[in-house]
Amino acid sequence: MLNVIWGFFLIGGILTGAFLGRMDLVTNAVIDGGGNALELAFAMAGVVAAWAGVLRIAEKAGMIDLLSEKMGPFLDFLFPQVPRDHPARNYIAANFAANFLGLGWAATPAGLLAMKELAKLNRQGERASNAMCMFLVVNMSSLQLVTVNIIAYRAEYGSAAPAEIVGPGIAATLLTTVVGILLAKILEGREKP
């Protein structure tokens, strides 16, 4: 599926470019795309490493254990397939908490570690397990307290009250999270034991 989408982006993009006479732009995109990705990776390497370091301190201090304990019932409901003492739960808890606080860069390392642990529990091969699906659906529903960058853009364009969208934003996000979770629960597939 991901292979198909990726291929569609490239094939579709190049063919449309040819029809619309935009091959010069497509050429630039092919050449610059990789470089832009590297630039982003370079920029994010420092932040992600720093947060992963802080995260490790929190882990060693037992804070992540505490966090996943506090989130226990919520995690039990979302991830019944993940055993209580499995490290995946800790990383999921850390990822959700970081996302919620708007610490996107801290959420990424925790999220990737969570995915790695969930992969160890996955017996579906290259298919996503129920737990993986649920994790990403919650992750992508972007439950977040304050969306700092949107507020900053609003301020930049002369908004009288840049932060007025925070409350409505939280309400909308809560709704998408709930819808995502419910759908993922309803559509949960049967898994090999």
């Binding site: 991901l2 990726w6 982006f9 490239l10 993009g13 190049i14 470019g17 040819a18 619309l20 935009r22 732009l25 497509v26 995109a29 092919v30 832009n36 990705a37 994010m44 390497a45 490493a49 992963a52 370091g53 802080v54 995260l55 301190i57 929190a58 201090a61 610490l103 390392p109 990737l112 790695k116 996955n122 290259e126 996503a128 699906c133 990403l136 992508m140 972007s142 969306t147 700092v148 949107i150 853009y153 609003r154 364009y157 908004s159 009288a160 009250a161 007025e164 969208i165 925070v166 409350g167 409505p168 934003g169 939280i170 909308a172 709704l175 998408t176 819808v179 759908l183 559509l187 597939g189």
Partner: protein, 177 residues
């Protein structure tokens, strides 16, 4: 409102402070632990680099070739028929694929209509409750070699769809049209 902006400046330092103080109290070797984590963090970035490059090339080709515009112009009449503002329709699609392109559209909307207009507010809230689904999904799934996302895509798209309409409705309720 100023308070909220000040508070948002506190989130990162305070999080770091709480963790480091807690670590010190629990007698964690702070610097050692940090370096350990930072090393895995760097490794993570290196690991996801190929995925990132693949994503960027594909998404930029999609945009440069003009296919994204065509898809948007196909989707716009459908969305306006459903009662969605035409000016916001491109954002709903672009948001799924590219965060930077979405921010570009958002600031364009701000410049054209103002951030405190109905459209400006709706777009702001839309940005809060939606996510670059394709990007996030690829990054996480490809990192563990999962290529069949199953229901994940459908659930995420459905949640996004609800978010877009919720943003529209909530803006109407809270701020008026």
């Amino acid at each position: 409102m100023k308070l909220l902006l000040v508070l948002s400046n506190f989130i990162i330092p305070v999080t770091v402070l709480v963790i480091v103080v807690f670590g010190a109290l629990r007698r964690v070797n702070l610097y050692e632990a940090f370096l350990e984590g930072a090393k895995t963090g760097l490794q993570t970035v290196v690991d996801i680099l190929p995925t990132l490059i693949g994503l960027f090339v594909a998404v930029e080709v999609l945009r440069a070739g003009g296919l994204l515009e065509i898809l948007t112009s196909l989707l716009t009449p459908l969305e306006t028929w459903l009662g969605f503002p035409a000016a916001l329709a491109p954002l709903t699609l672009v948001r799924l694929v590219s965060s930077s392109a979405a921010v570009g559209l958002l600031t364009e909307l701000f410049a054209d209509y103002g951030p405190d207009s109905f459209l400006g507010r709706t777009a702001s809230i839309m940005m809060c409750c939606t996510e670059t689904v394709f990007y996030t999904m690829s990054l996480y799934f490809m990192s563990v070699k999962v290529t069949k996302p199953g229901r994940t895509l459908f659930c995420a798209l459905a949640a996004n769809f609800v978010g877009v309409w919720a943003a529209l409705a909530i803006t109407g309720w809270v701020f008026g049209k």
